[in-house]
C-alpha cells in the first residue's frame, strides 16, 4: 500500500494490486476507547473504512504481577491471581492452585474438587454471559443485552459473595483445597440460579441469535482457520470456534472433569459468529456439568490436612499447570528454589496469546469489524498485560 501524497508526482499507472486510492488514515484506537475492553490500544491504518494495518499496543495495564509474585509467599500470590482476569477470579485461583499442587504433589479432597468444578463452571457462565453482552455492546446495541447478561451475572456474583465473601475477587482456592465450605442454604440458592440460567439463555437467544443484523455483522468476519489457530496458540472457545477439538477439561482431565459427561461444541467457520455461538453453547454445557456436580457433591473435608498454607515451601523444581479457563488455556509456570517465595512465577495468559492473530483477522475488514473481532476474542486487559 502506498501512501499517496501531493508532492511526488507519479505518472506511472497504479499497480494492479494497488487498490488504495485514498490516503491512508492512521488512527489509534485506544487506550481510552469505548470498546477496547479496557486500556488496549490498536494503531490502525485505514484506507477509507478498510483496515490495511493494525498493530496492537500492549502494556497499559502492565502491573507487574509476575515481579510482585516473586516477592510474595505462595499464599500471598493467590489474591493477586484474582486480579489477573478480573472477571473470572475463581478459575485463576484454580489454575494457580493446580500449578502449586503439581509443583508440590498435593492431593485435593473430593469435596473440594467438586466445589472447584461448581464455582469454576459458574465463573464460566458469568464470563461467557458478560462477554456476549459486551460483544453486543460493541456491535452497537445500546446496552440491553449487556444489561440482561449482567442481571444474570449479578445472581452468580451473589452466590460467589455468599460463598467467598467477595463479588469479584473471590480468593477462594488454596493449594490443597478450598478456603471455606459452602454455607447453609448456598447449594439451594446455587441450584436455583443454575435452573434459572437456561431460561435466560433462551431469552438471550431469542433476543439475538436469529437477529439478521447480528448474523450479517458477524458471519464471515474475522475468520481464523484451524491451522492458523493451532499455530498461533489460540486456545479456549476461540480455538474451538475454528474447529480445534482441544478442551483441556477433556484433554488433561484435570480435577475431576472425567467424571462428568459434557460435550465440546466445535465451530466450522472460525468467524465471529462461531465464537459467539460457541460461548452460548458452552454455557449450556456448563449448566449440564453444574447439574451433575451439584447432584454428586460428596461430604468430606475441603482441605488437604497435610498442606501447610502459611510458610509453604515446596521443594526446588518447576511445574506447569494449566486449566481450561473461560478465555482459554490459563497456565501457571512456577519455579521453586525451595524458598517461601516462588523463584519464577509465570502466567500463560490466554487473552494475550489469543490476540496474536488480531491483525490477520482484521486486515481487509471494516473499522466496525475491528471492535467485534476484538470483542469476540474475549480479552481482559488484566490478563493481557498482567
Amino acid at each position: 500500500m502506498s501512501v499517496l501524497t501531493d508532492t511526488p508526482i507519479d505518472l506511472t499507472p497504479d499497480l494492479p494490486n494497488d487498490r488504495s486510492e485514498g490516503q491512508l488514515l492512521e488512527v489509534s484506537m485506544g487506550p481510552q476507547h469505548p470498546s477496547t475492553h479496557g486500556v488496549f490500544r490498536m494503531d490502525v491504518t485505514l484506507d477509507g473504512e478498510k483496515v490495511v494495518k493494525l498493530k496492537p499496543v500492549f502494556g497499559y495495564l502492565h502491573r507487574n504481577h509476575e515481579k510482585i509474585a516473586e516477592n510474595e509467599s505462595y499464599l500471598g500470590c493467590m489474591p493477586y491471581t484474582d486480579r489477573l482476569d478480573y472477571i473470572c477470579s475463581i478459575t485463576n485461583n484454580w489454575a494457580y492452585a493446580l500449578a502449586v499442587e503439581t509443583l508440590a504433589g498435593i492431593q485435593v479432597p473430593e469435596r473440594a474438587e467438586y466445589l472447584r468444578v461448581i464455582t469454576g463452571e459458574l465463573t464460566r457462565l458469568q464470563n461467557h454471559a458478560g462477554l456476549v453482552g459486551f460483544l453486543m455492546q460493541d456491535m452497537g446495541a445500546s446496552g440491553t443485552p449487556l444489561m440482561y447478561a449482567f442481571r444474570e451475572r449479578e445472581k452468580v456474583l451473589d452466590l460467589f459473595e455468599a460463598l467467598t465473601g467477595a463479588r469479584m475477587m473471590c480468593n477462594y482456592m488454596r493449594f490443597g483445597g478450598c478456603r471455606v465450605d459452602v454455607p447453609s442454604g448456598w447449594l439451594q440458592a446455587a441450584q436455583k440460579v443454575i435452573d434459572g440460567f437456561p431460561k435466560f439463555l433462551d431469552e438471550f437467544e431469542s433476543l439475538l441469535m436469529s437477529n439478521e443484523i447480528l448474523m450479517a455483522r458477524t458471519q464471515g468476519v474475522g475468520v481464523v482457520t484451524r491451522e492458523q489457530a493451532i499455530n498461533a496458540g489460540i486456545s479456549g472457545p476461540m480455538a474451538r470456534a475454528s474447529g480445534v477439538n482441544y478442551d483441556l477439561r477433556k484433554v488433561d482431565k484435570y480435577g475431576i472433569y472425567d467424571r462428568f459427561s459434557f460435550r465440546v461444541p466445535l465451530g466450522e467457520h472460525g468467524d465471529v459468529y462461531d465464537r459467539y455461538m460457541l460461548r452460548v453453547l458452552e454455557m449450556r454445557e456448563s449448566i449440564e456439568i453444574l447439574k451433575q456436580a451439584m447432584r454428586d457433591l460428596p461430604a468430606g473435608p475441603i482441605m488437604d490436612p497435610n498442606t501447610k498454607i502459611r510458610g509453604f515451601r515446596p521443594k526446588a523444581g518447576e511445574a506447569y499447570g494449566r486449566i481450561e479457563g473461560p478465555k482459554g488455556e490459563l497456565g501457571f509456570y512456577l519455579i521453586s528454589d525451595g524458598s517461601p517465595n516462588p523463584y519464577r512465577f509465570r502466567v500463560r495468559p490466554p487473552s494475550l496469546i489469543n490476540l496474536t492473530l488480531l491483525e490477520d483477522m482484521c486486515l481487509g475488514q471494516n473499522v466496525a469489524d475491528i471492535v467485534i473481532i476484538l470483542g469476540s476474542v474475549d480479552i481482559v486487559l488484566g490478563e493481557v498485560d498482567r
Partner: protein
Amino acid sequence: MTNPIYLPVIVLLLGGAGFAVGPLALAWVWARKYSPQKSGPIKNAIYECGLESTGDAWIKFKPGYYIYAIIFLIFDVEAVFLLPFAVAFGGFTAAESIAMLVFLILLVEGLVWACQKNVLSWS
C-alpha cells in the same frame, strides 16, 4: 411584493437561529461572568483516545464515497422531475405514465449498471 407566505418561514428561520445562538450567547455570558475559559495547549489539542494526535486528519479520502454522491445527485435530479409528475399524476393517462416510466427505467438502467459494475459495493 414579498409573498407573505414566506414571512412565517423567515420568522421560523430567525427563531431557529435564535434558538441556536441564544443559549450559546448565554453560555458565553456565563463564561465571561463566572466561569473563565481556560484554554491550554493540551486541552485544545485534538482528542484521539488519550494520545497525542499525529498526522493530519484532513487527508485525501478514497473515492469510494464519491460514487454514492454522484448517484445521489443524479437521482436527486430525477426526483425533481418525478415530483411534478406525481402531483399531476391524477389527471394522466397511461401514455403519459409510460413516458415517465421510460424516464425512470433509463435511470434505473444506470443504477443497474452501477450495481453490476460493483460500483455500489462499499470499499
